[in-house]
Every structure is written in structure tokens, then in C-alpha cells.
Symmetry: C2
Subunit: 249 residues, 2 copies
Amino acid sequence: MTDLKKNTIEVCFSPKLFPDRLTKENYIVVIVDILRATTSICTAFKNGVKAIIPVATIEEAYEYKKKGYIIASERDGKVTDFADFGNSAFNFTVERVKGKTIIYSTTNGTQAIEMAKSAKNVVIGSFINLKSLTEWLVKHNKNVVILCAGWKNKFNLEDSIFAGVLVENLLKYPIFKINCDSASAALDLWKLAKTDLLGFIEKAAHRHRLKKLGLDDVLEYSFTLNTSDVVPVLDDKIIKDVNNNSENL
Amino acid sequence: MTDLKKNTIEVCFSPKLFPDRLTKENYIVVIVDILRATTSICTAFKNGVKAIIPVATIEEAYEYKKKGYIIASERDGKVTDFADFGNSAFNFTVERVKGKTIIYSTTNGTQAIEMAKSAKNVVIGSFINLKSLTEWLVKHNKNVVILCAGWKNKFNLEDSIFAGVLVENLLKYPIFKINCDSASAALDLWKLAKTDLLGFIEKAAHRHRLKKLGLDDVLEYSFTLNTSDVVPVLDDKIIKDVNNNSENL
């Protein structure tokens, strides 16, 4: 296989940089918001949720609330007043989510999903589903754009090092190559972080934001690799797990 | 001195991220476009240019051309047809620039300068003036926002590692602290790069762009520290060296 025929891997460190990405065709977007949306979405599917409908605004979430849906919503780490629960992965328990459809709105993650909707394929990435995500991307054999949700459009460490481990995993397959400096940088940061992930993430600003709010109990869970084999994919405004038949759970 | 009173250091990896920066008050913007605008501007002042007027568009540059000014301009590494010369640092020779005022327009750098104009203080940073820049920032004792020009709004390695070395230098002074994950990441990338700067930059996409165009002769020069003591500062649309009285050169 010549280099020209390889699929490209590109990383956007912020949703603001997504419109200027190099990759314009035939690509899958991987949405990343480790603390906390994408880790929580993976957890919900691991615990048998039927579907998740991500909405960007609190107003949209409220419209669904009036129709009787279960709402998970937060802004800046605080649970939205009318929501059933907030954004922590630990909220999405089997008791609460199994067989249900949940409406989901967060500070950063669901807005990144909104932005990526123009892409044909949008998939949810987190440390907990890294292996199944990688296998799914390899099977689909397309260009990959890793879209870090960041924090209010800013670069953040936790999403960037996840981008790095995904780059490292994909490069094990000869069908992929790096397409941009941000993918190189993410890989370098991951290599620095991987021997002591929680130690490295001590530097992250958002880790301190969560600590301040008493919401950092999910840290160890969020940085543990491959505890789930879900592959949540966005299909016409609804996220479903394409790796497991959640209808039958 | 308590931590609260320290000046913050923030890094924007792309001009697109500048409007969302955390630091909104009392700050100096350091513009960085290592390959090649900010290295070239520092070189011009080292070689005795009187002033540089950066303009964002080719149309503005052409208006100045009609008035008889010397024009340095390029887009995507190619010299603009009506320009006197292009964007390589090696073009700004003593013979060409000493005592002159030059109009300057480039793909990324001058557009980043345009974006930063809202800030009260805008200064030009490159590896070649790192030490004098650091001393000037310490003397001015304000918050610092390092604005990487990137490549067409995308993250790039060369500007990011310069941001990293500037962070490292400023943190030697107790009046500064890091304010964001991007400053941590830039510092980490610089620490990886510093033992073999040219080797590290081999990974950079723009380095390959320049090589393709036969414009990579400036690489070693651009990554050599402290060959000049200039501090080019933007003052009402005109850049002048505030560290040397260029009027008397």
C-alpha cells in the first residue's frame, strides 16, 4: 500500500478549529470530552441505555422534559435545575438508564457533537471504550478526525491525551497515517502521560474545576482503559451503540 | 507574593482561539510565527529596518506599493507578484532594509498581528530574540498571552514549542504562573524538543511545505536562540524596535 492511499488521522484541539480542518471528505469524526460527556455516554450504553439524544441548548432539553423524557444536563459542572441528574458517569446507573432513551446536554461535549453533525459518521470516544472504538474505526477504513470538545473552546489536556492514545492505536494499522502537527503533538503528550496518567492529569485545569465542585470522584474511572466494548454512534440526531444490540438488553 | 497576584501566562494555539482566551485584562500579546513572519521581523530590526507596517491583505500591500513603499509579501510560501521580496528572514538584509520602512504581508503572521491589535501591547516573538523578549516581558510585569499564528488557523509544532520555551523562561521569575492547559502542553512539548530542536521539527508539516518550495534554508537560523536583542513592538499599526533606537542605526 502506498502512503498516498492511507487514511489520514487529524486532531482538532477545539471545536473552533473543526471548520478549518484539512480533512474535508470521506471521514469519521470521533468526539472526545473525557471529563465528562463522552465517558458518561459510553457508561450509559455499558449500562444498557437504549438511546441518547444529545441537545446543544438547555431550552431544547426543557422541551423534551415537558414531553416526559429523562433529562441529564449540566452547565459548568452544575446540574440544570429541571434535569433528572447531571453529567457524572456515575449517574448513568443500570437502574436509571436500562432500556430508556435519555436527553443529554452539557457544557462542552454535546455542543461538539452538534458541530460535527455535518459529518456522515460521528462516533463517541473515551478511554473506557478505546479498544472497541479503534477496532470499529479500522473496520470502517476511512479518514479520522478526532474532535476534542475542550473547555469552552479552549485546548484541554485530558481530551488531547486521549486523542494521542487513539492516534497511537490507529497507527498500529498500516491503513492510517498522521495528517497534521496536532496529531503529532497529541501523540507526544500521550507518551509523556501514559506511564502515570492520573499524575499527569493533575496539571489539567478542568481536573481542578471538578475538584472544587466535589465532582472529581470519576477521575480514576474516566482514565481506565477498555472497561467497556460499546461503540456509540450518532445516527440522525440519536446516539445508539452499534457494537451491541442495545434493543435486546 | 501570593499566587493570586502573579501574572498569568496563557497560550493560544491558533488565532481562532484568541477570542476565547481566559485572560481579558491587562495583558501583553506575544505574536509567534516562527516559519516565518516573526523570525523575519526580528531579522529586519537586527539589520536596521526603521519600521515595519504589517498589513493583513494583499490589497492593502498593493495600495502602499503605489505610494512607493518597499513591499515584503507572500502567500503559501510564494512571493506576491508585485512585492519587492518574500518572507524569508534571509531577504531582510542590511542592504535592503537599513533605515527603511517596509510593508509586510504574509499567510499567517500578519493576520495574527491584525487579530491582536485590540490588545494595548503587542510584541513580536521568535527564537532569535527570546532573551531580550523575556527581559522586556519581565520588566513590563503584566499578564502574557502567547498567540501562535499557526498554519491557516491550525495548530503547528514550531510555534507551539516556541510558546513552550517562552513559558519556561518566564516561569523562572516568581511574578508569573501558568493559566491554562495549553501553556502546560506547550512547555511539555518544548521539553521533548529542546535536546534536538531540528530533529523534533522534522515532524512539522510546515517544515515539509517549505522544503517542497525550496524555502527551508532558514531552518537552522530560525531555531537558533538569542542571536539578536531586538524587541519589536506594535504601536498604532507600526512595528518598531523598543530595545534599540533604530533611528540612529
